[in-house]
């Protein structure tokens, strides 16, 4: 059952990711990205982290992607016609970077993948257990990140405002 759900989700994720990078229409690509993020939420839920899964849907698919879609529509981007001509620099670097990434990923998978994962412990992935971890073990990183987000937000408002009076 789990394996079946995993393969369906994997297929959806990879297919939608391919649409994101190959489709010429920016709106279609954005919708495919939203779809991709929702399928990844499915993986979280499959792994027992349902709280993170639901947050993934709310925050990424429900808020951020809608904003991105909003911007794309406002700019009214036309469909891209004809391929971009890639420079020599790009032609050499892109495959090289991809190869390095593939090697790193493959090695990590080969070294660490266990034959079977132990089942998650009782209460794993619930809001309560996640909250306890965040506010005890990862307290300082958590606070630093929230500070960082506030700084980014204030910066964005400042940049968007033309006059500061």
């Amino acid at each position: 059952m789990h394996i079946f759900a995993f393969y369906v989700l994997a297929l959806l994720t990879v297919a939608s990711a391919l649409v994101v990078v190959t489709h010429r229409n920016p709106v279609v690509a954005a919708v495919a990205l939203a779809f991709n993020l929702i399928s990844i939420a499915g993986f979280y839920i499959l792994l027992g982290a349902q709280f993170i899964g639901l947050l993934q849907v709310i925050v990424y698919a429900g808020a951020i992607m809608v904003l991105i879609l909003f911007v794309i529509m406002l700019l009214n981007l036309a469909e891209e016609v004809g391929p971009h001509s890639a420079g020599t620099f790009q032609r050499v670097l892109a495959p090289a970077a991809t190869l390095v990434f593939a090697v790193v990923l493959g090695r990590a998978l080969w070294r660490t993948a266990p034959s079977s994962f132990p089942p998650p412990s009782e209460g794993f992935g619930t809001a309560a257990s996640l909250g306890r971890e965040l506010f005890t073990r990862y307290y300082y990183p958590f606070e630093v990140i929230s500070l960082l987000l506030i700084v980014a937000m204030v910066g964005a408002v400042l940049l968007a405002k033309r006059k500061l009076t």
Binding site: V31, A34, Q50, G62, L69, F70, M73, A127
Partner: protein
């Protein structure tokens, strides 16, 4: 999990789905009758007794209509958008407990389709996805009115999701759980145990209701389909059954957001007063209590629609960002303090 459990789940889904669809059909009639009464005219009263069969006549009419697809429309999204509007709204209802745990032939059956730990978030996630339908319908129609409607709906939904989410968070703070069935269980007993009266009484509930109106695109916040300026907004180019799907989605959304409000603030299926009997009579009374509260919310939606004028777009944004958002932050912070002081919390 044996076969009986699966069958029970299917039975619950079947009952809830059909009840929702029936309620939607009934609501289209209620809306027009009540608007008739409010505007001192009759409303639909020709088909069947009191015009009650009007929704069926409407359905037959919608199916007969030609399905017009504009030449310029981006077909995949244009065709998918009406379905995308209905499905998330139905999804959200999955986590709403519509009755207590009842006993059928010696087997305990909890009257909720999916009793999950993050249920409140599930409901919120499903409603948050509903905006895609409006945005995509607006864009895929390739019409300036539709596009304007889609843009407005996305901006509006994002703006009002914040006060909505924050008002829900204040209830979650009080309840200490995200599981809807537990939140309802905590509101047992007398009526002042309901979360409307906890923390700062009424404020969270008011914020939730107002943002709920904006989230469901109902008057006074129905800017995405403001007919005075945008013809019909995001569904201008739709006809026949596809238009009817958007119409249905609006009503399902109303019912789901009301159900979420009832569950979080008005005690769900709790009666709020003691009764001298138990077992099936009590359970049926509790289910009826849930339906009654839902019906009150629905009537409020209709009442407000035919009483208030539509906001201007800048007024809508000002109210959202400068009125409701700070107020909901104050509500959340105060609730947090009250929870720490253990004042008016009572678990």
């Amino acid at each position: 999990m044996d076969v009986t459990d699966v069958l029970i789940s299917f039975a619950k889904i079947f009952v809830v789905f059909n009840a929702l669809m029936g309620a939607v059909a009934f609501m289209t009639w209620v809306e027009r009758r009540v608007s008739g009464i409010i505007q001192y005219r009759w409303g639909p009263n020709r088909v069947g007794p009191w015009g009650l069969l009007q929704p069926i006549a409407d359905g037959i009419k919608f199916i007969q209509k030609k399905d017009i697809i504009p030449d310029d429309a981006y077909k995949p999204f244009y065709l998918a958008a009406p379905a995308l509007a209905v499905v998330p709204a139905l999804f959200a209802f999955v986590v709403i407990p519509f009755g207590p745990t009842v006993e059928i032939l010696g087997r305990k059956v909890s009257l909720v389709i999916l009793d999950m730990d993050g249920g409140v978030l599930w409901g919120f996630a499903a409603t948050a996805l509903g905006v895609y339908a409006l945005v995509l319908a607006g864009w895929a129609s390739r019409s300036k009115f539709s596009l304007m409607g889609g843009l407005r709906s996305s901006a509006q939904m994002i703006s009002y999701e914040l006060p909505l989410a924050l008002s829900i968070v204040s209830v979650v703070l009080l309840a200490g759980t995200l599981r809807p069935t537990e939140i309802v269980a905590q509101q047992a007993g007398p009526i002042w145990n309901w979360y409307v009266f906890r923390g700062i009484p009424l404020l969270g509930f008011l914020l939730f209701t107002i943002s709920g109106y904006a989230e469901t695109n109902r008057v006074p916040f129905d800017l995405p389909e403001a007919e005075g300026e945008l013809v019909a907004g995001y569904h201008t180019e739709y006809s026949g059954m596809r238009f009817a799907a958007f119409f249905m989605a609006e009503y399902v959304n109303m019912i789901t957001s009301s159900a979420l409000g009832v569950t979080l603030f008005l005690g769900g299926w709790q009666l709020g007063f003691p009764v001298p009997f138990e077992g099936w009579p009590l359970w049926i009374l509790q289910i009826l209590a849930f339906i009654g509260k839902l019906a009150f919310f629905q009537f409020l939606f209709v009442w407000v629609r035919w009483t208030l004028p539509r906001f201007r777009y800048d007024q809508l944004m000002n109210l959202g960002w400068k009125g409701l958002f700070p107020l909901s932050l104050v509500n959340l912070a105060t609730t947090a303090v009250l929870v720490t002081l253990n004042f008016n919390v009572a678990r």
